[in-house]
Symmetry: C2
Subunit: 227 residues, 2 copies
DNA sequence: ACAAAAGTGTTTTCTCTACACCCATGA
DNA sequence: TCATGGGTGTAGAGAAAACACTTTTGT
């Protein structure tokens, strides 16, 4: 196909917006840029797509390399392709967002020795267009959490309704009525109550719940009114 | 930056899922593939991203080249990047969807001499992964039309509520109650009634409406319950 | 005793839906 | 006159929101 030959070829990257939840806050994993340009600013985890892999596979590889985690929840957000988005050389980046459990995150990797979790509502200056990437990813997460229990990817396998509500409040940056939230969530019929109770977060103790098998990815009617 | 040098470079394409509305049906503009492989199947309008343009700009250029139209509504859907998605050579494609008014579409262009509008619910076999692209684009259009009057991009500048309802029925492939649809649309406060009436579609005659200035792109509460 | 979260119930408001009904008019 | 779409009104179902209230237990 001579046809193809005449067209330019580009470096294609993946950038990962990695969400985690800790201490009642929704956080983002960033690492500091150690060299110019933009030295001192912070950056999303990224890497270049290779010959034998799709963007999705590349994102999983980057996740594995930088967090030590496999099988992470991952979804494509959008491609960023402005010719000037990186000053040194043109790179087209396909942005993904990932949800991980911070408690499972392995800190002792060389790549992430200097990485840091930042609260989404208080991010440091980011390089290039990474701030737009983070914005778009958060909107996608809000959309996702509005129709699935995507949030449960961010919590331990057993969690209380208080923890789940706090997570949703962190994702949507707003409060939810405790009673109404509980009733809504339970009415969706995707949570299973365990016999175990949590006694650390309250005096009375709250039952633990887990997501029912095969319900984690299920599209629900609507959990949160978004927009 | 020596760092960049070692990574592979890829052909990057844009493919456009071009929606139009005609004779009460939502349609897609396709053109027949004249050579192997996949000769005889139909294809989305596409082209390669050039050095000096973003994917969005490339899509606008493809739109202009193939339909003769500028300033078309265009939105990115997703990047398709599987290494095997095109058999002859690896191409990463960034899919966009476009909304155009078929009445403004110029047929007499060499590129589109053989192009054809196909009803979305009765598409011919498409090349490669173009059927998945079309599927995803339709879902995005449904989402878009659920929170904005995106649909109005597909209609003439003045339209009746019957025409608008028929369009929404075509987009969502379902019926809407005439009375309820009217009330819902009018309650959104984005339509302006004109003094003019349409007398061709009904005996009584129906008022024309237009989208109020600055309201076309506005995010609305929710027009259609999607999902 | 008190605070703080767990958990349940009630009331009010709002939206969606179905459907009845009259109007205007061309065939 | 009859069929067809234009346009308005209303009753009922169901969901969301606001909020009262009771339970439990560590401090």
């Amino acid at each position: 196909m001579e046809y193809y030959k005449q067209h330019p070829r580009f470096l294609v990257a993946v950038d990962c917006v990695i969400f985690g939840y800790e201490a009642g806050e929704l956080k983002l994993l960033l690492y500091p840029r150690a060299f110019e340009p933009e030295k001192g600013k912070w950056s999303l985890m990224g890497g270049f797509v290779q010959e034998n892999e799709s963007a999705c596979e590349a994102a999983h590889r980057v996740l594995a390399e930088t967090t030590g985690m496999n099988g992470v929840f991952l979804e494509q957000v959008s491609a960023f392709s402005s010719p000037e988005r990186e000053p040194s050389e043109r790179v087209i980046s396909i942005v993904h967002f990932a949800l991980i459990r911070i408690d499972r995150f392995k800190k002792n990797r060389p790549v992430t020795a200097s990485a840091k979790w930042w609260p989404v509502n208080n991010l440091p200056p980011l390089i290039f267009d990474h701030d737009q990437m983070a914005d778009q990813a958060l909107k996608r997460l809000q959309q996702k959490a509005g129709t699935t229990l995507a949030g449960s990817e961010l919590l331990p396998s057993k969690f209380t309704l208080l923890q789940l509500r706090n997570l949703y409040e962190a994702i949507y940056q707003r409060g939810f009525d405790p009673g109404n939230f509980r009733k809504k969530m339970l009415s969706l019929n995707v949570l299973e109550r365990l016999d175990q109770k949590n006694s650390t977060d309250s005096k009375k103790g709250a039952f633990y719940y887990k997501v029912k098998p095969n319900k984690a990815e299920k599209e629900l009617e609507r959990i949160v009114k978004y927009l």
